[in-house]
């Protein structure tokens, strides 16, 4: 393509004919003229001038061949027509001088020079012709004899000058045309190239799009354990993956564009949820159930909620559905995606676990009830009172039975927390009382361990909405932990205070502390700090799990600050009721 256009350009170029080619007409005309001069009688008036002219012409022609061989044409090439002019002037001198038959030959080199680029060549041509025409006078060494001879020296160059100007202009125009033709050709070539690369790009994009489409489709098809359903803004189904077909028993051909997502929901659940959300406006005012279904997604929140899908045969399946919005390139919501996981089995497992924990708890508590009951009977036996020593043994047995009982209670409670069944009995609670009671009940344990208990209470009562029993349990846990982990002669300081938003209960000890690397595992079930195991502090690692769960259930926060060997501070923040 490129080579083709170059050859066109070369052929069209005014400047490209080689100097040899340009010289050719002049040489031919000159040779004919010289031949004529020799053949016709009385033509040659000065043979020496004709000879010199011929020599100059040979030199000029040789020079033209030299420049043609050089390839690149320079301004120096114009020496050739200059010499031509000189050769013709000598020929003219030798064949009759001013009256020579061959004056017209001058036009040939004039054509050459005049066609050069630039107006100055018009002047050069005029001057050159004028000089050439004057050569006979120079050779004869005389002035022009009369007005006619003067005019011949001036008028002819004028005519040649005019001709040169016309030729110069014409060739300028031709050159411009050539330039614009060349530019057009180049432009076209560039366009063509652009078009070709655009076509390549389009093809590539199409392939990429196809690949992305195939990928999405294969992912959707690969998800067989979950149903993936896509709808538009009104809930009309347009995506229905094999997982949905398996879960709901209908192929895509019977749902896409034909059914709505809410056709597969339990009406009752949708109505309840809609009522809960106070009838959200949503995109479909006419269908509050669907609006309730997508409310969170519409507001840009990810939500996973338990629903019941109903198959066309009336059977149902418990699912956890994640609803997310589908957006177009402008981020406007154009529909929703519903990814549902069958949780029937998970629910069954959770139920079995609850049942198991309940059973174990019952089975453990019943023998413990007997142990504690009969131990009490022994202690209360008035007829044969126990000796001091026997009473001590009894105390140990009772203490350990209580410890077991607490452990069973903690286990059961932990199970309730993890299964999300964690009822709170909320009422107005005066925290001063709760904290004071916890410190008081820890008193005997504290004094037995040789740990001083210090209580700081504010003068004003701090009242929160909370479960008094659970908060008490949380305080008990923190205080008994602090005592357990504090060596003899240490102190445990319990203080109650408040910020603008929260009531804060802090339990500070001078104990062995917790390693910084263990702080983040502190609330994991059955986690025990290395300091606890190293120092043989009893416990199974449920207390903080339970405390944390209680605090979280109250929308509060549990913070810890500890330094190994210095002590630990736990802070429970419980939100204060907002003043309205």
């Amino acid at each position: 393509m490129r080579r083709f256009s170059l050859s066109i350009m070369r052929r069209l170029s005014v400047d490209t004919p080689s100097t040899a080619l340009k010289q050719l007409p002049t040489v031919i005309a000159f040779v004919i003229a010289v031949l004529l001069a020799f053949l016709l009688p009385d033509m040659i008036t000065r043979p020496i001038a004709v000879f010199r002219g011929s020599v100059v012409m040979v030199v000029a022609t040789a020079l033209s061949l030299f420049f043609a061989g050089r390839g690149r044409v320079t301004a120096w090439a114009l020496l050739v027509p200059g010499l031509d002019l000189f050769a013709i002037a000598l020929l003219r001198t030798g064949t009759g001088g001013t009256t020579s038959l061959f004056s017209a030959l001058i036009i040939l080199p004039v054509l050459w020079v005049a066609a050069e680029k630039g107006r100055r060549w018009v002047v050069v041509t005029a001057v050159g012709t004028s000089l050439a025409l004057m050569v006979p006078y120079v050779v004869d060494w005389r002035w022009p004899a009369d007005i006619a001879e003067w005019l011949r020296g001036v008028f002819s160059p004028f005519v040649f000058g005019v001709a040169a100007a016309i030729i110069n202009e014409l060739s300028r125009q031709a050159r411009q045309q050539l330039v614009s033709i060349q530019r057009l050709a180049r432009d076209r070539e560039v366009r063509l190239k652009e078009t070709l690369s655009l076509a390549d790009q389009l093809k590539e994009n199409e392939q990429r799009l196809n690949a992305a489409d195939r990928f999405t489709r294969s992912v959707l098809d690969a998800v067989t354990e979950q149903s993936v359903i896509g709808t538009d803004l009104t809930g009309l189904i347009d995506v229905w993956n094999p997982g949905a077909a398996v879960m709901l028993g209908l192929p895509a051909t019977e749902t896409q564009g034909k059914r709505h997502i809410y056709d597969f929901h339990l009406d009752e659940e949708l109505e309840n949820r809609s009522r809960e959300l106070n009838y959200p406006p949503g995109a479909t005012v006419l269908n509050p159930g669907f609006s309730a279904l997508v409310e969170s997604a519409r507001l840009g929140r990810a939500e996973v909620r338990d629903w019941t899908y109903v198959r066309t045969d009336g059977s149902s399946v418990s699912v956890a559905v994640a609803v997310t919005p589908r957006v177009d390139e402008d981020d406007a919501t154009v529909g929703y995606i519903f990814v549902a996981t069958d949780v029937t089995q998970a629910l069954e497992v959770a139920r079995l676990k609850d049942e198991f924990v309940g059973l174990i708890s019952h089975e453990l508590r019943t023998p413990l009830s007997s142990i504690l009951g009969y131990l009490e009977l022994l202690r209360d036996d008035d007829e044969s009172p126990l000796s001091e020593e026997q009473l001590q043994y009894l105390n140990v047995a009772e203490r350990n039975a209580h410890r077991l009982l607490r452990l069973v209670g903690d286990l059961l409670f932990t199970a309730q927390v993890t299964s999300g069944k964690f009822p709170l009995d909320i009422s107005q609670v005066v925290l001063n009382e709760v904290v004071a009671a916890a410190v008081q009940s820890a008193g005997p344990v504290g004094s037995a361990a040789g740990v001083e208990l210090i209580l700081h209470l504010p003068e004003d009562s701090i009242v929160v909405r909370a479960d008094a029993v659970r908060l008490g349990q949380a305080c008990d846990n923190l205080i008994s932990n602090a005592i357990k982990f504090t060596p003899r002669d240490g102190t445990v300081t319990v203080s109650l205070g408040s910020t603008d938003t929260d009531a804060v209960i802090t339990v500070l000890d001078t104990g062995m502390g917790i390693a910084a690397s263990e702080l983040d595992q502190l609330y994991a079930r059955f986690f025990r700090a290395s300091t606890a195991t190293r120092n043989a502090v009893p416990g199974v690692g449920l207390g903080l799990t339970i405390t944390k769960a209680i605090v979280i259930a109250h929308d509060g926060e549990l913070d810890v600050d500890s330094e190994e060997g210095v002590g630990t501070a736990f802070s429970m923040s419980i939100p204060l009721p907002r003043r309205s």
Binding site: S361, R365, S370, G373, Y374, L405, L412, F413
Partner: protein, 128 residues
């Protein structure tokens, strides 16, 4: 035992607990007329003896304490029978369910025999 004493039926599937409750009942000076191991036997004992007080375990083979409770409250012939439920449960929901089924009092296991006996004596005083 005097004829005017408060008559008690006990039902618990655990023999040791049953014995423990019996001892508490004895300490409180009440008249134990039957101690059985499941809900169905308890129902029969109640029909037979028409006691003043029934101490029932919540979870028993056969009828549970709660079912028994509802059955008693639905039976006009057993009107005026006081019911005490015993449970190894830990949450307040169990307690609420017990009262809803018609129980007069609810004791969580483990319970102190001393306190239980004291409560029985106090509870029955106005009856005398």
């Amino acid at each position: 035992m005097s004829a005017g004493a408060v008559r008690v039926v006990i039902a618990d599937d655990d023999a040791d607990i049953r014995a423990l409750v019996s001892i508490a009942v004895g300490k409180a000076g009440l008249d134990l007329v039957a101690a059985v191991a499941d809900g169905d036997q308890a129902w029969l004992a109640l029909q037979e003896h028409h006691p003043d007080l029934a101490v029932l375990d919540v979870s028993m083979p056969g009828m549970t304490g709660l079912e028994l409770c509802r059955l008693i409250r639905a039976d006009a012939a057993l009107a005026g029978l006081h019911i005490v439920l015993l449970s190894a449960a830990v949450d307040d929901q169990a307690r609420a369910a017990g009262f809803e089924a018609g129980a007069d009092e609810f004791f969580l296991k483990p319970f102190s025999p001393r306190e239980f006996a004291a409560w029985l004596s106090d509870f029955m005083v106005p009856e005398k």
